[in-house]
């Protein structure tokens, strides 16, 4: 009859396939493969919570053990998405509670999570083990307490850069005395002080604890006491390092660190005084990851620390490191794979740091394994970009933020087209690219043509015309996420490449020249795209040709969403109905 693999055999084969991209391909082969795959998928990833309904996901993957969801568009991180836009976790939690009670892990990014959600999680999933909330908001420490109190097998509780209503440090005391399963705890984004004795006891009874990230309210004394109880830590986020400098304090700290022989990752270091840095020297040789991006430490002290970190793979630091410091990194940290340099003065009023394009050039030359860069710098040159591209063709992620909008190459006064062309052409494995500085349409012609593997592209204050968007949407074969702000393109390119949009996860455009009329046409032409117009003013009150403030377009099989706030306008697919916003409180 045909060579048909028995489903048991297929199941067994599939148990070796972890990558969801591969599993998605498997599920397209034929119906029986689709069925076998869906019944065996344990880890489900939904990159846009509005692309599919919770019920559909729960139904398709009944054996789900782990769910990862992303909500708001990336530019929400920079306040470009108004509050109340959406991204609510509740419908998902509710659906999973009903259909997938064996769910063990939930990871949410940029979503609105309420205490109700957290209480529901605690109450519904008996084997719940992992909760990771990144850039989420909407909940209070009461919700966290519910998780701590009820989830007996909780292994991981991480609140990464969330906005939490902090009602005090009591939540920590809700971990029952019988709870010994913690492997990772991150409460670095909370403000309130927790009772150090509660934390000490929790740490003492958690022999598997590997990662602990404290909030700034934990003092140095507290840190010392915790390190003594958990010398097995591999990841540590310190609390506040500010304290009166006492000789005993320093030696106690130094000793505590020297006993942590497995420490690989260090972060926190809020308010770190340079005098205390030597206490860290003993762990430096073993560090693979160091986050100094909240430490206002300046130059010579930084180098003293970094030159001891020969195994460092990931370094996050502020521009206080200066070109000099990066030159040192280039010579001491030969294993470096990821570098992020943040601005110490984000408001630009005091931008006066001797960090230039030269710093990044040093690192590109000296660190052969460098593959991921995020670099904030006041201005840049084509020559530097060419050097970086030539030296580091293995770059996978290149995000350059030239802080001065429209800044040309400051040596030649030309646009940075040539430089970014070199990056796109030279770095063939580039997956993520953020461009900035003065760029003409030509730059995007090069990017469209050469950046074949780029999946996410971020653009601000660039381009001259529609050609820019045309080049991108007719090229960039792997493009999945495109986010654009303040660029002068309009309707033509968008409408011409409507089909491309269905091959992407999403497109964000703000402060561009896309008209409401074009949005209507696009929405009515593409049934499987949600075209959201996010604008203070009702589109009907303005001429159809006037530009809208923001547009968020994403492919979906769930149809228009039902939870839009009043400033989000969804265009009905039926031309007769026109515009509505289906706001349901």
């Amino acid at each position: 009859m045909g060579l048909r693999l028995p489903s048991k055999v297929l199941e067994h084969i599939l148990s070796f396939i972890d990558s969801n991209e591969d599993r998605n391909s498997v599920s397209l082969v034929c119906k029986s493969w689709f069925e076998t795959e869906r019944k065996t998928r344990k880890r489900v990833f939904v990159g846009n919570c509005y692309a599919v309904s919770p019920a559909a996901v729960a139904k398709r993957f009944p054996e789900m053990r782990s769910l990862t969801l992303k909500g708001k568009p990336h530019f929400a991180d920079y306040n470009l998405v108004p509050d109340g836009w959406g991204g609510y976790a509740w419908p998902w939690i509710e659906a999973m509670a009903a259909k997938c009670p064996s769910l063990e892990e939930i990871r949410l990014k940029r979503m609105v999570v309420t205490d109700e959600c957290l209480e529901k999680i605690a109450a519904s999933f008996k084997d719940f083990e992992v909760l990771v909330l990144t850039s989420c908001e909407g909940f209070s420490t009461d919700g966290i307490a519910a998780i701590a109190a009820t989830c007996r097998n909780l292994r991981v509780l991480e609140l990464r850069e969330c906005i939490v209503e902090d009602l005090g440090g009591d939540w920590l005391s809700y971990f029952p005395e019988t709870s010994t399963s913690l492997v990772s705890l991150d409460f670095s984004c909370l403000d309130s002080e927790v009772k150090i004795s509660d934390l000490e006891r929790l740490v003492s009874r958690s022999p598997n604890l590997k990662s602990l990230k404290l909030n700034p309210a934990v003092t140095l004394d507290g840190l010392v006491s915790l390190l003594r109880r958990a010398p097995q830590l591999t990841e540590l986020g310190t609390g506040s390092f500010a304290a009166q400098l006492k000789p005993e304090a320093f030696s106690k700290l130094s000793e505590a660190f020297s006993n942590c022989k497995q420490l690989q990752s260090l972060s926190g270091l809020w308010d770190v005084l340079p005098e205390y840095l030597p206490a860290l020297y003993s762990v430096c040789p073993g560090l693979t990851s160091l986050n100094l991006s909240y430490a206002t430490v300046r130059m010579p002290d930084l180098v003293e620390l970094l030159r001891r970190c020969s195994k460092l793979q990931k370094l996050w630091v502020m521009d206080l490191i200066e070109d000099k410091g990066l030159e040192a990194v280039a010579s001491y940290c030969k294993e470096l794979q990821e570098l992020r340099v943040f601005p110490s003065a984000p408001d630009l009023d005091e931008a006066n740091i001797p960090l230039t394009e030269q710093g990044l050039v040093f690192v590109s030359k000296g660190c052969r394994k460098l593959e991921s860069v995020l670099y904030f710098c006041v201005q840049f040159t084509n020559a530097a970009l060419l050097t970086i591209a030539r030296k580091r063709p293995n770059l996978k992620c290149f995000r350059l933020c030239v802080i001065e909008p429209f800044a040309p190459d400051y040596k030649t006064n030309e646009p940075l087209d040539k430089g970014f062309k070199a990056i796109a052409e030279g770095c063939k494995d580039l997956r993520r690219l953020s461009v900035s500085g003065l760029l003409s349409d030509k730059a995007f012609k090069y990017i469209g043509k050469h950046a074949k593997k780029v999946r996410m592209l971020s653009i601000a204050f660039a381009g001259d015309s529609d050609l820019m968007l045309h080049h991108l949407l007719s090229g960039c074969e792997s493009l999945k996420k495109l986010e654009i702000r303040d660029c002068p393109f309009g309707d033509t390119a968008l409408l011409e490449h409507a089909a491309k949009l269905e091959t992407m996860r999403s497109l964000w455009m703000s402060s561009c020249f896309v008209s409401f009329g074009a949005c209507k046409i696009l929405s009515q032409k593409m049934p499987r795209l949600n075209v959201e117009v996010i604008d203070e003013h009702p589109p009907e009150t303005r001429p159809e040709s006037s530009p809208v403030e923001r547009i968020y377009i994403y492919r979906t099989v769930a149809g228009p969403r039902m939870d839009t706030p009043e400033f989000v306008w969804t265009i009905h697919k039926n031309p007769e109905i026109g515009v509505s916003h289906l706001a349901i409180k």
Partner: protein, 189 residues
């Protein structure tokens, strides 16, 4: 593809027709700014409005562009708050207070007050006068005295218009105006 060759003609630009130089780029920045008003909290909105009136002749400060540079607010807040904490620790926010007709000035610590009503009550007691009632549209009614302050830009503003937190940060000195000079602010325009 040919249709794109002549796109320059139909190009959408923010500058005046005929302008082709790079400095129009700075104009773009301020125009784009307006589109993002919705996103701003009222504090920043007012800051931007008042400082954009002020800098009509100078290029717009980059700090006014919403969400630029792209640094997460979580990160911005953590660096800023550390800076502010070290600046204000242990020191109050002392400003001089003058009253028209009074022989000498006083000094008060703004950080002692939680809001405008406390501040005004304290001033009333200190200078033995009363301010009347505040109306958003018309200012203070029912008294010859009008409480004003000088802000960072050097302008004299009516006390009570902006949110308290913003007021504390921008207030340089107070002045209680009296009589005819006060009429402009006190009795509505």
């Amino acid at each position: 593809m040919d249709e794109f060759v002549n796109l320059k003609e139909t190009e959408l630009r923010l500058g005046l027709p005929g302008t082709d130089n790079v400095c129009e780029a700075k104009e773009r920045v301020s125009c784009c700014n307006n589109n993002n008003k919705r996103v701003l909290s009222t504090d920043t909105e007012k800051e931007i409005e008042s400082s954009s009136r002020k800098t009509e002749t100078s290029p717009p400060r980059k700090a006014q562009i919403v969400g630029w540079p792209p640094v997460r607010s979580y990160r911005k807040n953590n660096i800023q708050s550390k800076k502010n904490e070290s600046e204000h620790e242990g020191q109050g926010i002392y400003v001089k207070v003058s009253m028209d007709g009074a022989p000498y000035l006083r000094k008060i610590d703004l950080s002692c007050y939680k809001g405008y009503s406390e501040l005004l009550k304290a001033l009333e007691v200190m200078f033995k006068f009363s301010v009347g009632e505040y109306f958003e549209r018309d200012g203070y009614k029912g008294s010859d005295f009008v409480p004003t302050y000088e802000d960072k830009d050097g302008d004299w503003m009516l006390i009570g218009d902006v949110p308290w937190e913003m007021f504390i940060c921008t207030c340089k000195r107070l002045r209680i105006m009296k009589g005819s000079e006060a009429k402009g602010l006190g009795c509505g325009v």
